[in-house]
Each structure stands twice: as structure tokens, then as C-alpha cells.
């Protein structure tokens, strides 16, 4: 068995050796990180966004690169997920965007500050995170049936494409907070839809859908687009919601 002095050699030697390896790998990491993080795109604006991120301790509720707190969503891919217009609208009044839900502080950022934050988050979204966050492996199995041909996506009104899709999907493209809208024309009339968008809270207190200010023409434009989906039957077969238990190929 080891004597005490041998044990001490093991401790000191091991610590020295592994510290040296660790330092060497750290030096190499510092060499590689500029490329992995696209440091050339790290503009002054991005840095200003990072300072805003730190000065308000956003990490105290959110995660970024999976680091931070678990009270609010992961933000590495938020610009890709929600889009800049939605994020700006959201920052103006977070409570309004998620009525009755978990609260975020209303910071009252200026337009410049909002642009800085978005620049920072966009840069973060471009960092090579070795595949994080992974695409949810089971998502495709659970997608609601998309009955709309993808060609229709081109005809989406601007406001629908930039704001509504953050929560709703059409043709399988969009968020999963609210229901898919491919077949909403079957459930609601034109008037009902226009009234609903004008004031979701008024019609159904407690709903997660925010009241988004827009002129009535924009609302009509959106509703007409959704009604128009009825005239364009799906070209592709509906996506299977679940994987068949038996693979047909097994019988060939």
C-alpha cells in the first residue's frame, strides 16, 4: 500500500500534470474561439448589446448558450425563432405579449438599445455551439397535420409573417404557442376572426394571445389571408402525426 509520502507525490504530481494539460488546451481554445464564434462579426453594436444584457442581468431569468436561470426561455436562437419585429414589440411591453403568464420586467429600452440587444442575440445565434440547442428529435412525430401547401406561405401579409408566426403555424411553419391556423376558416367566421384579433382578452379573458395594436385594414388583410387558405387545398399528403407501429417495408 501507498505510504503517506507517496500519496503526497500522487497529489502534487497529478495536480501539476493535469493543470498543465488544462492550460495548454485553454491556450488552444483561445486560438480557435475567434473562428468558432465568428469574431469578425462581433461589432461594436454587438458589444453594446452584451453590456445591456449584463447590466440588467438577463441571465438571472433566461439561459444563453444554455447558461443562466431556468425561469424564462433559452435565447440563443430567439432571433431565428421569433424574428426581430416580434422581439421589439415584445420588449416594449412583455406583460402584454404574454398576458396573465410569467412576468418579465418592462425595461423601457430605446429603439437603439433594442437594436443593440437584437444584434447581440443575432451574433450569439451564429456561434458554433456544436449542435446546441438540438432540434427536438421527436418534434416531427408530433406536428399537427399541415393541410396547407407551402406555396401559400409566400402570400402571407407582412404582419402575419413577422409577428403572428412567432406563436401560430401555417403549413407546418411557425410557433407552437397557439393553435395551427391552416383550418381556422372552418372554425370561425370572418367577423369573429376580426373581432378576436382586435381584442382577444375581451372575448376570452385569460387567453395567452396578446392584443397587438394595428389598424383595422391590417386585421382584415390577415383574416382574408386565412380565409383564402380554404381555396388552396394541400398538394402534399398530410403529415402523419405518429409513426406507424409497423413499418410497411417489413412486409415487402
Amino acid at each position: 500500500m501507498l505510504s503517506k509520502s507517496q500519496a503526497r507525490v500522487f497529489f502534487l504530481g497529478g495536480t501539476g500534470l493535469f493543470s498543465a494539460i488544462f492550460l495548454a488546451l485553454s491556450v488552444d481554445s483561445m486560438r480557435q474561439i475567434p473562428k468558432l464564434t465568428r469574431q469578425d462579426q462581433l461589432t461594436d453594436q454587438v458589444v453594446r448589446g452584451k453590456r445591456i444584457w449584463e447590466d440588467n442581468n438577463c441571465m438571472g431569468c433566461h439561459t444563453l448558450f444554455g447558461e443562466g436561470a431556468y425561469y424564462a426561455p433559452e435565447l440563443t436562437q430567439v432571433v431565428a425563432r421569433r424574428g426581430a419585429p416580434w422581439i421589439k414589440l415584445f420588449l416594449d411591453d412583455p406583460k402584454k405579449m404574454f398576458p396573465g403568464q410569467r412576468k418579465m420586467v418592462r425595461y423601457g429600452f430605446s429603439d437603439q438599445q433594442k437594436d443593440d440587444i437584437i444584434a447581440f442575440l443575432t451574433w450569439c445565434g451564429g456561434v458554433n455551439l456544436q449542435g446546441f440547442p438540438a432540434k427536438p428529435p421527436l418534434r416531427d412525430l408530433m406536428r399537427p397535420t399541415a393541410t396547407t401547401a407551402s406555396a401559400d406561405l409566400a402570400g402571407q401579409p407582412e404582419i402575419f409573417r413577422t409577428i403572428c408566426v412567432a406563436c401560430h403555424s401555417v403549413g407546418g411553419v411557425g410557433g407552437v404557442v397557439g393553435p395551427a391556423l391552416d383550418e381556422v376558416y372552418k372554425r370561425k367566421t370572418r367577423e369573429e376572426m376580426i373581432a378576436w384579433i382586435a381584442d382577444p382578452q375581451g372575448l376570452k379573458p385569460g387567453t395567452a394571445m396578446p392584443k397587438i395594436e394595428m389598424p383595422v385594414e391590417r386585421r382584415i388583410e390577415i383574416v382574408d389571408y386565412l380565409l383564402g387558405l380554404a381555396r388552396t387545398p394541400a398538394t402534399a399528403a398530410p403529415v402523419q402525426p405518429v409513426r406507424p407501429a409497423v413499418d410497411p417495408k417489413d412486409f415487402e
Binding site: L2, S3, K4, A7, R8, F10, F11, G14, T15, F18, S19, I21, F22, L25, S29, Q32, I33, L36, T37, L42, V47, E54, D55, N56, N57, C58, M59, G60, C61, L64, F65, G66, E67, G68, A69, Y70, Y71, A72, P73, E74, F98, Q101, R102, V105, F120, C124, V127, N128, L129, Q130, G131, F132, A134, P136, L138, R139, M142, G175, V176, V177
Partner: protein, 453 residues
């Protein structure tokens, strides 16, 4: 108590318990916010509560470590503390810095980097403070009659902890680089040098409480802290998987962090074996219970639950979810909170001269707080695994999933209430011990128990 200057430890311990109580209050604020009761949002938003909760944790543990060192080092070095005045000055300034930091968090003033939220100017004060502490302890050791392995390991742990605070104070533009060095503080503290501190204190307690030969205990101490560094230094890689660092960290971090539980397992086996081997029974059974409890729970919380999400294939989905919070709670509790409480349970009767070690309240405090903490961990585990399945694997929206798991936080709050009752009992017992007394005599293991009054 052999040396009068050991008495400063009492005030460090009392402060630590005060800060722990406050930490729990902020834990409840967050727990309630998670079940929709966020009435304090305007004044104490979640990020304020969280920074306060985790910073209080770190400060009370540091306070406890310092108190332990002030108790252990004079005895190991066989002389009075170098400067009692400096020790008190250092305690008071540490508390003042802590209070200022917490006030800042309520005013939206901070650095906004997880665990290192303290505003930069205060960082410098922390550094000065810790230097004063190290000087005091260092001089005591230097001038002392003995140099034991136990005190050496403890001192090295404290010294490296101070040095590793520095990389957290660099300002950089690149978020990845920022994160890279943040882990030099956070990871290399809890999975490196703090383990030396824990090992040193545990070693001291085992020598005192079991009567096993110092040579044997200290030899194992070297082997275990050797294992800690062997695995833990490169184990830092488990935080570098997905932050923009090179890909080889997936292998390096995966392999070496998977070895980390060995050090904790070693610690648990060694503590249990020494307790079994120790022939003579020390009357302070509850201090031994806390010491062995610490060795076992640190393995469960840090070793076992750390292992549960440390492999990159698993971490890809658990990274940044409540699974991490589950592990964080039991690891900090088992390894660091329990070692500080063990030290208090051992030192208090000696400092005050009151032998309140065999009471029902003492056992009640141990079991209730531990069962409560295990319950909290269980609730967080269920919430975390559900979150991973629904959000990370099925792709449901974050807030929808949070609603789904809300009930588990009701469970967590119930367990937290139980935990709080246990801590309450511990504090009550602490107060009943009274103030340190000059008449409290050294209760030497060799001789009869000779406690004052």
C-alpha cells in the same frame, strides 16, 4: 477550546446561519413565483431573488469555511491566532460588502454573470478581505509549532479559491470567452479547491471524532484530493461542450468529469471506514452524524446526480434545464452546507462549554433538514426530467411546458418548508448554546470530557 482566539469562529458561524436564513427566504420568493404567486415582482423580480439566493449561499459558505479555519488552524498549529482584531475586522467587512451587494441587486446594479453578479468595485473589496484572511491564517501557521497535512490542505484550498476568483474579474467582448473564464471560478471552485477545503475539515473532524491515527487519515486525504484534481481540472470541459469552444472538450470533459464521482465516492467510503475503525466513542455523536452525512450526501448530490447529466450526449438535452437546478441543490447542500454545519455541531459545545450534543432537537435538525432537501431535489428532478422530455425532445413551447410542471413546484415548496423547519431547529440549538465562554476548556479526546460549568 484550547486557545482563546478560537472564539472568533463563533461569530463567523453565527453570521453564516443568519445569511443562510436569508437565503432560504429568497428561495421561497422564487419558489412561489414559479407557482404563479409573483406579487413581489415589481420590487424583487426573479433575477434579483435568484442573484440574492445564490450569492448568499456562497457568502455564508465562505463565512463558514473561514470560521472553521479560525477554529482548526490555531489547534493544528498549536498557538493563538496571529491577530484576533484582524479576524473581526475581516468578518465585519465581509458582511458589509455582502449587504451592499444585495442592496445593489435590488436596484438593478450588477455584473449580470451567473454566480458572479457582485458589481466590479465590490470584487476588489472581496479580494482585499480574503487576502486579510489568508494573511491571518498564514501567519498563524508560519509561527506555529506544528505543520500538519490537514492544515496544509485546508490552507491550499483557501489560497487557490482566492486565486481562482481573479479570472472572473476580466472584462471581454466575446460571450464565449466570458463564459470560458467564468467557469474557472465556478467549476474550479466547487469541483476543485472547495473539495480541498471540505476534505481538510472532514479530515480534522474524523481525527477528533473517531480517534483514528492521524497518519492513516491524512494519507487518505492526499489520495482523495489527488483524485479530485486529476478528474476535476480537465472535468471543467463539461461546461465547454456547447458554449462555442472547440469540439475536443466533448471528449476531454466527458471522460474526466465522469471520473469526478470517484473522489466523492472515495470520500464517503473513507469517512465511513474511519468511523467504523475508530474504537473509542466520542460523546459528540451528532457532529459525527453530520460529518458522515456530509460524506454520503456529497456523493449522492455531486457524484451521482452530477454523473447523471455530465455525458455530452445527455447534457445536450439537459443543459440549462431544471435538471441542473436539481443537481445544484443537493450538491451544494451535501458537500458544502453539511460540512459547515458539521463543523458547527462539533465546535459549538467546545466554544460555549455547553454539551447540547445528545439532544432530540439535534437529531431532529439533522434528519428533518436532510429529508426536506432530498424531497426538494426529488421534486426538481421530476420537474426537470419532464421539462427535458416535453421541451427538449418533443419541442413544445417553453411556457407551455412550465405550466405543465407547475405542480411539482408545489411539492418542492412543501419539502422546502420541511427543510426550513430542520434548519430552524439547528439555529434554535445554536442559540441555546449561548455565547462563547472563556471558561470553556479543551475537551481533549484522550482525557475525560472536561467542559466548563
Amino acid at each position: 477550546m484550547k486557545y482563546q482566539s478560537q472564539r472568533v469562529a463563533y461569530w463567523f458561524f453565527a453570521s453564516a446561519l443568519l445569511l443562510l436564513s436569508l437565503q432560504i427566504v429568497y428561495g421561497f420568493i422564487m419558489g412561489f413565483a414559479r407557482v404563479g404567486m409573483d406579487g413581489l415582482h415589481e420590487w424583487i423580480p426573479f433575477n434579483t431573488a435568484r442573484a440574492t439566493h445564490t450569492n448568499l449561499l456562497v457568502v455564508w459558505l465562505l463565512c463558514g469555511f473561514m470560521g472553521s479555519a479560525y477554529f482548526i488552524i490555531p489547534e493544528e498549529a498549536d498557538r493563538e491566532l496571529w491577530s484576533v482584531k484582524l479576524a473581526y475586522a475581516q468578518l465585519i467587512s465581509l458582511l458589509v460588502v455582502g449587504v451592499i451587494a444585495i442592496i445593489c441587486y435590488h436596484l438593478n446594479i450588477w455584473e449580470g454573470r451567473k454566480f458572479l453578479e457582485i458589481p466590479r468595485p465590490l470584487d476588489y473589496l472581496v479580494v482585499v478581505n480574503v487576502l486579510a484572511f489568508l494573511l491571518n491564517i498564514g501567519m498563524t501557521l508560519w509561527l506555529g509549532k506544528r505543520n500538519t497535512t490537514t492544515s496544509l490542505v485546508l490552507y491550499m484550498g483557501l489560497l487557490f479559491a482566492a486565486l481562482l476568483y481573479l479570472p472572473g474579474m476580466v472584462t471581454v467582448k466575446n460571450q464565449t470567452v466570458d463564459s470560458f473564464y467564468r467557469w474557472w471560478v465556478v467549476h474550479l471552485w466547487v469541483e476543485g479547491v472547495w473539495e480541498l477545503i471540505m476534505g481538510g475539515i472532514l479530515c480534522y473532524l474524523l481525527i477528533k471524532l473517531t480517534g483514528v491515527d492521524r497518519e492513516v487519515v491524512e494519507k487518505w486525504l492526499y489520495i482523495i484530493v489527488g483524485l479530485t484534481f486529476l478528474s476535476g481540472i480537465l472535468g471543467t470541459g463539461h461546461h465547454y461542450y456547447y458554449i462555442g469552444a472547440p469540439r475536443y472538450w466533448l471528449i476531454v470533459g466527458g471522460v474526466f468529469s465522469a471520473l469526478e464521482p470517484l473522489a466523492f465516492l472515495g470520500m464517503a467510503i473513507y469517512a465511513l471506514a474511519m468511523a467504523k475503525k475508530g474504537g473509542r466513542k466520542h460523546p459528540n455523536r451528532i457532529a459525527l452524524t453530520w460529518s458522515l452525512g456530509c460524506a454520503v450526501m456529497s456523493f449522492v448530490g455531486a457524484g451521482f446526480l452530477g454523473m447523471a447529466h455530465t455525458l455530452p450526449q445527455i447534457n445536450m438535452y439537459t443543459h440549462g434545464t431544471l435538471v441542473t437546478a436539481m443537481h445544484g441543490h443537493l450538491a451544494f447542500w451535501g458537500a458544502y452546507a453539511m460540512i459547515v454545519l458539521a463543523m458547527m455541531a462539533y465546535a459549538l459545545p467546545l466554544l460555549t462549554g455547553r454539551k447540547l450534543w445528545d439532544t432530540g432537537v439535534a437529531s431532529f435538525a439533522f434528519w428533518t433538514s436532510n429529508i426536506g432537501m432530498v424531497g426538494m431535489t426529488g421534486a426538481l428532478a421530476v420537474a426537470g426530467v419532464t421539462q427535458v422530455a416535453l421541451e427538449r425532445r418533443l419541442g413544445l413551447d417553453f411556457l407551455i411546458v412550465q405550466k405543465e410542471i407547475e405542480m411539482h413546484f408545489v411539492g418542492m415548496l412543501l419539502a422546502a418548508a420541511l427543510f426550513t423547519v430542520g434548519i430552524g431547529a439547528f439555529i434554535w440549538l445554536f442559540i441555546r448554546h449561548g455565547l462563547p465562554s472563556a471558561e470553556a476548556r479543551a475537551e481533549d479526546f484522550e482525557g475525560a470530557v472536561a467542559v466548563g460549568k
